[in-house]
Each structure stands twice: as structure tokens, then as C-alpha cells.
């Protein structure tokens, strides 16, 4: 009988990082080199060029540039999170702006309380509460004056919301566009909720006019650069985390779910748990990005939750190339640099450009910029 004869191996399979999972094997040596160079630029060169190099010098980086790059790195983290769920697991979320905003609001609560009595009304309460004639903080503001508690909220609020929502959605096997539409409705509902003054988050003005973070003045150049470096470190960290996940067996199960979910089920994996894992993780990463974003740009308001914002995240990822890790980072950078150029130079044309991007990328560039790059060598 030919009962599965044991044969000598005839090849060495490429199975990604199935083996040890040790840090050095996470990326190829070349990728490590690029990553290291990026880390040096972002963590050393940029801070020095901004803080040390005098303003007149050709090597000086303006505050504007630093803030812009910091902002774009936050977007890149969001695009990366989007890629984990969409590019790898095939689930298109049109509600990721919500998780980003919730992380931002959680951080914003801490920043609002750090204003102390320096607000317009010189009150212990934030100005908008004074304006609404509130006498005390609502219960959900308790402890938000402690940084670590706020930091916990940054992770927990998007995480728990995503977990609960995802559990119900994935359990009833809502997939594809239905899932996308429902997530869009979710962020829309939250936007309406946060627009209300009574909700307790400053209504349509949201939070702004922050004064300090952890005791440091928030507009000081050093604080700004510290936040920038933190964001850069987070971006690099999440890139490595993403790499560890997508090269693990779990990462391969995710891709398998994307390509043939029923086969995954009949192979004995319950897709619910896997989807929930990557969905919740993705939401948490978004929340952290939001928390890094708010102190840098100095404002958070409900428009961050608008469906249009969330769908734009998808286009960053698509432009860069979903299903790759570097793609979303590149995409977020390209689209947002384009946006900030256009909105200054030719504001009325930006929507045309963005609209065309959506169309052209889906029609002609399904694998994004990274796809172009990958095709050339082969």
C-alpha cells in the first residue's frame, strides 16, 4: 500500500518566519538596514535639524515641517492598522476613523484637565462645561486627570468597542460590503453623538487650546520634538509588530480567511477568533495613533469621525499597496503630502485629485505603489 511513504525532502520551502520568531529573522538584512536608517533619520537627524541647527541654515527643519511629518506618521500608523485588517484579512473597515478619534478623545480628556485654571473662564472645569453651565465633571471624566489612566483609556475604549462590535458582526458572519457599510454607520452614529453638546465632549468644537502635557508646555519646541520622536518610535514598533504577525502562522490564517473562508472553517479554524484578534488589534493601534496625533495638532473634534475621513484611510492604504507593510506607510505619506500641497496651492482642485485617486487606483493600480515596485525587479 502507498501509505504516505516517507521520502527525503527535495527542497527547502520558503515559509516566511515559521521558525524561531527571533527578532533578527523578522526582516531581511536589507529591510533591517532601511528600517535602521529610517530610525536614525527620524529619531536623530530630524530633532537635531529642528532644535539645534539655527533657523537660517539650509539644514534647518521648520516647526511646520516637523508637525506635518509627525501628523503624517500618525496617519501612517492608521494606514498600517487598516492594512492588517483589510490587506491581510480582507475586511474593509469604513469606521477606522472612529477608533482613531476615540483614542484622540481619551488623550484629549487628559489634556483638557491639564489646562487647569488657565482656560478663558479660569475655572476648574473646561471652558465648554462652564459655557454649558455644568457644575461638575460627568462620571466618565473621573480619573482622566491621571495620565496613565487616560493612556489606558486610549487602548481600552477603542479596543473594547471594536471587540464588542466585532464579536457581534463576525459571529453573525457579516462580511464584505455589508460589514463595510455597517462600520460606516457606526462611525456616523458616533459622530452624531459627539456633535451633541450634552454628550460631554465639547460638541462640535471638541477639545482644543491645550496648555501642557505631563507638565511640559505643549507648544514648546522640545515637547513637540519629543512627541515627534515618540510617534516615530511607535510607527517603527508597529511595523515590526505587524511583520511579526503577518509572518506568523496566524498571519497565514488571516490571508487564508481572506481567500477562502469556508476552507479555513472546514480545516478546523474558527474565523471568528482570528478576525476578532486582528480587528481589535487594528482598532487599538488606531486609538494609539489618535492619542499621538491630538497633542501634536492641538485639536480633536467629531469631524474626525465623519464617514469621509474613514474612507480616506482606505485610500491611503490602497494607494500604497495593501497586503504589504511598507505600502500603507508610503501611501499615507504620498496622499497626505499631496493633500497639504493642494489645499494650500489649489484648494478647489484637491477633491478632484482625491476622487481620481480613488478611481484610478482601484481600476489600474490594485496593488498600489508597492505593487509597481515589486513588479519591476521580477
Amino acid at each position: 500500500m502507498r501509505n504516505m511513504p516517507a521520502m527525503t525532502p527535495t527542497f527547502v520551502p520558503r515559509t516566511g518566519n515559521t521558525g524561531t520568531g527571533a527578532l533578527p529573522r523578522l526582516w531581511s538584512p536589507r529591510a533591517w538596514g532601511i528600517l535602521g536608517a529610517a530610525a536614525v533619520v527620524l529619531l536623530v537627524v530630524v530633532p537635531v535639524c529642528n532644535l539645534v541647527v539655527p533657523a537660517g541654515s539650509a539644514f534647518h527643519l521648520s516647526d511646520y515641517t516637523v508637525t506635518l511629518v509627525g501628523k503624517i506618521m500618525c496617519y501612517a500608523i492608521v494606514a498600517l492598522a487598516m492594512d492588517l485588517i483589510w490587506g491581510y484579512a480582507g475586511i474593509l473597515s469604513l469606521g477606522h476613523g472612529l477608533f482613531f478619534a476615540l483614542g484622540g478623545y481619551a488623550m484629549g480628556m487628559y489634556l483638557m484637565r491639564s489646562i487647569g485654571r488657565d482656560g478663558v473662564y479660569k475655572s476648574d472645569l473646561p471652558d465648554f462645561m462652564v459655557f454649558l453651565d455644568w457644575k461638575a465633571y460627568p462620571w466618565f471624566w473621573s480619573f482622566t486627570d491621571h495620565f496613565w489612566y487616560a493612556a489606558l483609556l486610549v487602548v481600552l475604549v477603542p479596543g473594547v468597542l471594536a471587540f464588542v462590535f466585532g464579536y457581534f458582526a463576525f459571529r453573525s458572519r457579516i462580511k464584505g460590503v455589508y460589514f463595510s457599510i455597517i462600520t460606516q454607520a457606526l462611525t456616523y452614529a458616533f459622530m452624531l453623538l459627539f456633535f451633541r453638546n450634552d454628550t460631554g465632549f465639547g460638541g462640535n468644537n471638541g477639545f482644543t487650546d491645550f496648555k501642557r502635557i505631563l507638565g511640559f508646555p505643549i507648544t514648546a519646541p522640545e515637547t513637540r520634538v519629543a512627541l515627534f520622536m515618540l510617534t516615530a518610535a511607535a510607527l517603527i514598533g508597529f511595523l515590526c509588530l505587524g511583520r511579526a504577525i503577518v509572518t506568523s502562522k496566524l498571519g497565514r490564517v488571516l490571508t487564508a480567511i481572506r481567500d477562502a473562508e469556508s476552507r479555513v472553517m472546514f480545516s478546523g479554524y474558527d474565523p471568528l477568533g482570528f478576525k476578532l484578534f486582528v480587528w481589535t488589534l487594528s482598532a487599538v493601534i488606531c486609538g494609539i495613533a489618535g492619542a499621538l496625533y491630538v497633542p501634536q495638532v492641538g485639536i480633536i473634534n467629531p469631524s474626525e469621525m465623519s464617514p469621509a475621513n474613514s474612507i480616506e484611510i482606505a485610500i491611503w492604504t490602497a494607494v500604497g499597496g495593501r497586503g504589504t507593510l511598507i505600502g500603507p506607510v508610503v501611501g499615507a505619506a504620498v496622499v497626505n503630502l499631496g493633500k497639504s500641497w493642494f489645499t494650500q496651492a489649489l484648494p478647489e482642485y484637491w477633491l478632484y485629485v482625491l476622487g481620481l485617486l480613488f478611481i484610478l487606483v482601484t481600476l489600474y493600480l490594485p496593488r498600489g505603489i508597492a505593487g509597481l515596485w515589486a513588479r519591476k525587479p521580477s
Binding site: 504516505m4 525532502p9 527542497f11 520551502p13 502562522k249 490571508t255 469556508s262 476552507r263 472546514f266 474558527d270
Partner: protein, 282 residues
């Protein structure tokens, strides 16, 4: 639980249980989960399924013995695939019961749970993970702890690695190991899917039209493979290719309009008047 009287009656109708099954029950097929002490591994009792008023399965009863190689034939739309859907938990029966061994009620389990207790299924349309290599396909299917955390931290040890290589030889895909599964031919995908089933080490294999799209030569090789698997595993094979069925079947079940029309050896079935009328006679 299945009505034992019904079971006894079915058995009586079928004649003596093939000796293979009794030889199996004390062998290595027995795993803690499945109780096959009565010789049979799968019981379907008066299962009915309807889609918007159309009866895809109509009072279907079927018993498969452990270690048996059962072929199920029937015209298009007879309900063969739907029967597999019921067994694997994809479709819930409107009436009737489905038991795996003496104790496991399949109608209460989800698809992954059913796969986990040892039922593997090959789809009518070959379904593999197109973006993964052949090797990775097998690796993912391999029997392992398939919960989220263990999967995240899973490592491929050398024993598992060897098993995958052995499997690659069995399904004649060793040269393709590094290719993307999406690039394989239809027949190769069929083989790969069978290979993935074997990696799951199931007790019961449900194969829906496994040789469709294979060359004659490949069909012969699958016949050999299935025969070699019988006894060690229980196989339920749905096929339209009568020569293939004649070659491999211990026993054949004929389905028609969601109901068992006849059951017995290939010769018995071929002599059955009704069967000739609805199916073979065409």
C-alpha cells in the same frame, strides 16, 4: 440520539456489516471523541432540508460504518452536496438528526468544531488558499491546536515538516511545493485539497467529486489512494464517474430527490429497477 430501532432496521435491510469495520474498531482509528462501539461512524436519520419550500433532502437516512469506503451517486440536484453540508454543519437540517459515532450530535456543532472532531471535507469546486504556496496550504491544514494564541506562536517542528513532505509525495505535488496554489491546474488543486484533508488526520473524509477534472491516469492514482486509505479512514465519496465508482466502492448509495433510492454493492445497485430508471438508464 438516533432511534436504535431505526438503526437496527436499516442494518437488517443492508445485510451483514462488512468485516473491515469490526477490524477497525480496536485499531488506531478510535480517538477519545468518537464512540464507534457499534461499528458505525456516521448516522443520518430522517434528515430533511428545504430551501424556500424546495426539498433538497427529503427524509434521508444513511449509516456509514467505520473504515468503509462508501460511494454516493445520484443525478444532478439529488442532494449529495447538501447531505455533506448537513454533516459538516454548514446547513442545519429542518428535521432529523445527524450523529458522528454514538454520541456526537453534529447538528449542534459549528463547522470548525466538526472539522476539529475529525470530519474532513473536500468541496465540489476545489477550494485552496490561492495566495499561499502548496507547502503553506498543507501546513495550515495540518492537525494542530487551531485556536488563536497557539496559532500565533506556532512553530513548525521537524516531525511536522517531514509529514508535510511525505504528504507532498502522496499527492504528487512535491515539485510544486513552492508555487502559489492559485497557479495550479484544476486537477492539481483537487489533489492539493485531498492532501490538505489528509493533513487534518480526520476519521471521516467527505469527498465531493474528487476526480472531476483529473486525467484518466490521475483518476487511477486517486482510486489507488482512496483504496489505500479505506480501512484506516472512513471515506464517503460523491462521484458521477461510474467507472471510478465501480472500481473503488464497497457499497454504493443512490440518492434521488433528496432520498435514498437504493443501497448495496455496485452490482446490486446496477440491477435495481428504480435506479436504472432514474439514473443509470439515462
Amino acid at each position: 440520539m438516533m432511534n436504535l430501532a431505526v438503526y437496527a432496521e436499516l442494518k437488517a435491510r443492508e445485510g451483514p456489516t462488512p468485516s473491515k469495520a469490526t477490524g477497525i474498531s480496536d485499531g488506531h482509528v478510535v480517538t477519545p471523541g468518537v464512540d464507534i462501539s457499534h461499528g458505525a461512524i456516521l448516522y443520518l436519520d430522517s434528515v430533511s432540508v428545504s430551501f424556500d419550500g424546495f426539498n433538497a433532502l427529503n427524509d434521508l437516512s444513511l449509516v456509514v460504518d467505520a473504515g468503509e469506503l462508501r460511494c454516493v451517486i445520484g443525478p444532478n440536484g439529488a442532494g449529495k452536496t447538501t447531505m455533506m453540508d448537513v454533516i459538516t454543519g454548514k446547513t442545519r437540517p429542518d428535521a432529523g438528526t445527524a450523529y458522528f459515532g454514538q454520541t456526537i450530535d453534529l447538528t449542534r456543532l459549528s463547522e470548525p468544531e466538526i472539522a476539529g472532531i475529525g470530519i474532513g471535507r473536500k468541496f465540489q469546486k476545489p477550494t485552496v488558499f490561492t495566495d499561499h504556496t502548496v507547502f503553506e496550504n498543507l501546513e495550515l491544514a495540518r492537525k494542530a491546536d487551531k485556536r488563536v494564541w497557539p496559532t500565533l506562536t506556532a512553530k513548525l517542528d521537524s516531525a511536522a515538516y517531514d509529514r508535510i513532505l511525505a504528504n507532498l509525495e502522496t499527492i504528487h505535488l512535491a515539485p510544486e511545493a513552492k508555487r502559489q496554489a492559485g497557479l495550479l491546474s484544476h486537477g492539481q488543486k483537487q489533489w492539493l485539497e485531498i492532501g490538505m484533508l489528509l493533513m487534518q488526520e480526520p476519521q471521516l473524509l467527505l469527498l465531493d467529486e474528487p476526480v472531476a477534472g483529473m486525467t484518466d491516469d490521475e483518476t487511477m492514482r486517486s482510486a489507488e489512494l482512496f483504496l489505500s486509505l479505506a480501512g484506516k479512514y472512513t471515506l464517503v465519496v460523491v462521484e458521477h464517474d461510474m467507472d471510478f465508482v465501480a472500481k473503488i466502492a464497497d457499497r454504493v448509495t443512490v440518492l434521488h430527490e433528496g432520498h435514498v433510492l437504493a443501497e448495496g454493492s455496485m452490482q446490486q445497485v446496477q440491477r435495481n429497477e428504480q435506479v436504472i430508471e432514474v439514473f443509470l438508464g439515462r
